[in-house]
Subunit: 514 residues, 2 copies
């Protein structure tokens, strides 16, 4: 079949692909690239674009796929197109640069997503293509949601999980260290205040293990390890700066986002958060790919189990552990999973600065330091020392305790903070309020999720001094009127919101008639 010249007269020059001038539109759509064009612009009319169309946008040698939003005429000139912050960043244009805009041919990898929706099993090449397109910003949020849903629950085999882990690792940079072993520690999260990382890193590094720890900021929780650590030292380091810290002190605690090791994880995680799902297969691929990308060889994983933790019961913990170990082996990581008590927060502080003060108390061996945070840190550090070959099997906790009690962990922590840019004093919140027991009795249940919510309403983690001091662990005998929580906020409005919520949710800290 060939196309012949038309029967009526047409301009004899070929019609070029339509171009528009770039304008930074100044709208933050989170990470989804959006292009804003006028309904009456020539390109929209000629191409028949409609709102929600996916468009290929090219400038120089860069190309992105963006979702079209159609605007009224007062925002843009007729030959302009606005770019959302994400699109502007990805395309790397300057104000007024010419861009070509065109239809998107369907992505091949989306046919794999549809195959998965229809129950087929994907191979490593197919999962690799999906991850590559997703990281390159070629998937819309709706398409990402379809992929994450199609692979949710128990819909990924162990082989698929391994393949996804490999694909996610390959999608970003990978650190290499002139050391073996390179150890790491991770917690699957969901437990407020479980901030063992800085303590574990200090102990392991003091014993000479190389532990280049990258941590995340909070996304839906009141504090990520990076947020907490930031009240003690700078955490936004380049890869080179991080490398120098580790060369000097063996360990670090920096923000993983600044070193950009896991672009696939960053792409998927915001949709997982929006959907409030974290399926075993995706979680395992996410965790292990991050560890592999950081150049780790030996990893201890903290898996808190409790009714309001991420892993609800021991049956799920066992299934998840098996999957983790199988996938870790397949990607060449030595992994040890430690199942821990996830029924209630660890330590007293929930929120960046409050958690930081718990950490300092443990490192300084203060008498009032939270015993549960200390013990859990020693257990995890002990596993790491054993796994890293620094002490005999079974002697890890004793060994870790010697390092901590002797002050070497505290020395090392201060040295790491100095190397990261200088030690800081965590801020104190100006507004506080108490939530008290409305009866005498025994604390018999803690709702970690509601507790996190209260800390977030107080302003954490954006307000680093904000959060909750948790005063009544499970089994505490309380009298009527005894403080259960202390709320900390940087503004009176936030304190009021948090108090309102606490008042409406008395089961957050449940007291039985004892």
């Amino acid at each position: 079949m060939i196309a012949v010249p038309p029967s009526t007269s047409l301009p004899s020059v070929a019609v070029a692909r339509p171009t528009v001038r770039a304008r930074r539109f100044g709208i933050d759509t989170y990470q989804e690239p959006v292009i804003y064009m006028r309904r009456d612009c020539e390109v929209c009319r000629a191409e028949g674009f409609e709102a929600h169309t996916r468009l290929r946008v090219t400038a120089g040698d860069r190309e992105i796929i963006a979702t079209l939003n159609v605007t009224l005429d007062h925002f843009l000139e007729v030959d302009e197109a606005g770019l959302s912050e994400a699109a502007w960043r990805l395309l790397g244009v300057e104000e007024g640069d010419l861009m070509t805009v065109g239809h998107v041919e369907p992505l091949d990898s989306l046919s794999h997503v549809r195959a998965k929706m229809y129950g087929q099993t994907l191979n490593e090449a197919q999962l690799g293509a999906i991850v590559q397109d997703a990281v390159a910003g070629r998937y819309s949020d709706v398409e990402l949601a379809a992929f994450l849903t199609a692979t949710a629950g128990d819909r990924m085999t162990v082989e698929e999980t391994v393949a996804l882990t490999r694909a996610m690792t390959r999608a970003g940079d990978r650190l290499r260290w002139d050391a073996f072993p390179v150890v790491d520690k991770h917690c699957v999260g969901g437990l407020p205040g479980n901030r063992t990382t800085p303590i574990v890193v200090a102990i392991a590094a003091a014993e000479g293990l190389v532990i280049p720890k990258t941590s995340s900021r909070a996304i839906t929780s009141p504090a990520g390890t990076a947020d907490t650590m930031e009240t003690l030292a700078p955490v936004t380091l380049s890869i080179e700066q991080m490398r120098r810290v580790v060369e000097r002190e063996q360990g670090c605690v920096v923000w993983g986002g600044s070193v950009g090791l896991s672009p696939a994880d960053e792409t998927f995680i915001r949709i997982e958060r929006a959907l409030d799902v974290d399926s075993p297969g995706q979680m395992v691929a996410s965790v292990l790919s991050k560890k592999a990308a950081a150049g780790s060889t030996h990893v201890v994983l903290d898996l808190p189990v409790g009714p309001t933790a991420k892993v609800r019961d021991f049956e799920s913990a066992r299934t998840l552990s098996r999957l983790l170990v199988a996938c870790a082996e397949a990607v060449g990581l030595h992994l040890r999973v430690v199942t821990t008590d996830g029924r209630q927060p660890v330590g007293r502080g929930i929120g960046p600065a409050l958690e930081a003060r718990d950490i300092l108390a443990v490192l300084r061996n203060e008498a009032a330091a939270p015993a549960d945070l200390r013990m859990r840190s020693l257990e995890l550090a002990g596993e790491l020392l054993e796994l890293g070959g620094k002490c005999a099997p079974g002697s890890g906790v004793r060994c870790a305790e010697r390092v901590l009690a002797g002050g070497r962990a505290w020395d090392k922590f201060q040295a790491i903070c100095e190397a990261q840019g200088g030690m800081r004093v965590p801020p104190v919140a100006p507004y506080t309020a108490e939530v008290t027991a409305d009866r005498a009795g025994v604390v018999h249940a803690i709702d970690n999720r509601r507790l996190s919510r209260i800390a977030k309403l107080c302003g954490a983690p954006q307000a680093p001094a904000a959060g909750v001091t948790f005063l009544a662990p499970l089994g505490t005998q309380v009298r009527c009127g005894q403080p259960l929580l202390q709320l900390h906020a940087e503004t009176p409005g936030e304190l009021r919101y948090a108090l309102d919520y606490a008042r409406q949710n008395p089961a957050t800290v449940a007291v039985t008639d004892g």
Copy 2:
């Protein structure tokens, strides 16, 4: 647990929920409600909102849930919030009205979506809650995608499909007619030019059957029945106007969107299109809920089967038919499924006006009328006459042919057009071009999808005169240079784009050496 007054001084009046002034922002995000707020606005800061947060927005007695996009300060005053077109429409505010903005409590029905993601079976109450929240605009696009993916492929049982059909029917208005039977006809689509509806309606109504037909506009195809019919008569009628047409002439062909019968279908379909999926369960629920909402009792369903049609093979057609019949029975519809040839377009025209001229040729019994369109219309009308009790089993086609050949269908069609507001003459496109065979041989395969694409690049359906005349059905002996397609456009640019595409896709009409 009770909250006690804070230990530091706070204003003693309760802090009101934060308010902002409404501004119509003039951005069309398709149907997703979006709220635009400044990063530095008091509400954003106090509430800790981030881009992509879902917010509850209240004005007067209306409430919507919208996705937050954060803007630079030059767009809005600090106490203003912009609303996308969809949000503006749903909330029904005026410029400057006060709105309250707050966090969204997780929707209960999303826990059912997550349960489905984890492989559980949902009951009617759960599916009903999902549909209700989705129709009320409480689901983000990402959440809709998760629901549609979790129920895709073969992941819905027959019981779930029945329950979803009932839930989707209940979610909108339902027409009631003082007649029995009330007949209807539907095609699952995917076949260009398959425009039998106006002919079938004319024959059925001429025989005294009540057939209040609502049709859709094109979403991804070059013409919907409503687009085609609109070149012959007005189709945007209110429910009352539609009722008067049917009372007078027994039948009508109006745009379903204007009578608003299937809000759930409209909500789901745009995400299905974005994902390019149309799973059996969702398709069945969508079709049957629309028929039930229109008040139909007896329905004939045209199911074209072909490698580039929606249903690819007869095995899939059988499975789908069984599901359709089972679900129709469960919701009290008499359904007959007719499997038809879906290997190539029906008739010659593809595009609103071109299809309309085929319809007129058949109704007027012109010698040059497309025989395939005529025959298929008679088959479907025959089934409908039998199903509606107007003729004996096996005599339907003969009966329909008498009505058509005797001119009664043409009379009835003209009467219906007059009742809908006056008959129109379909427009003719000013620019045309031909695509010819590059060799002599036999036409052995047609790619319906590429053919549709060419018609859309010509400008259909926005340009009603645009589209393709299909000149070489399967089996046609062609000589080199013989026209296979004629392209029609309203602008030279569109004609050029369509020709370019046709040139790059010679397999659209495949000719073998014969």
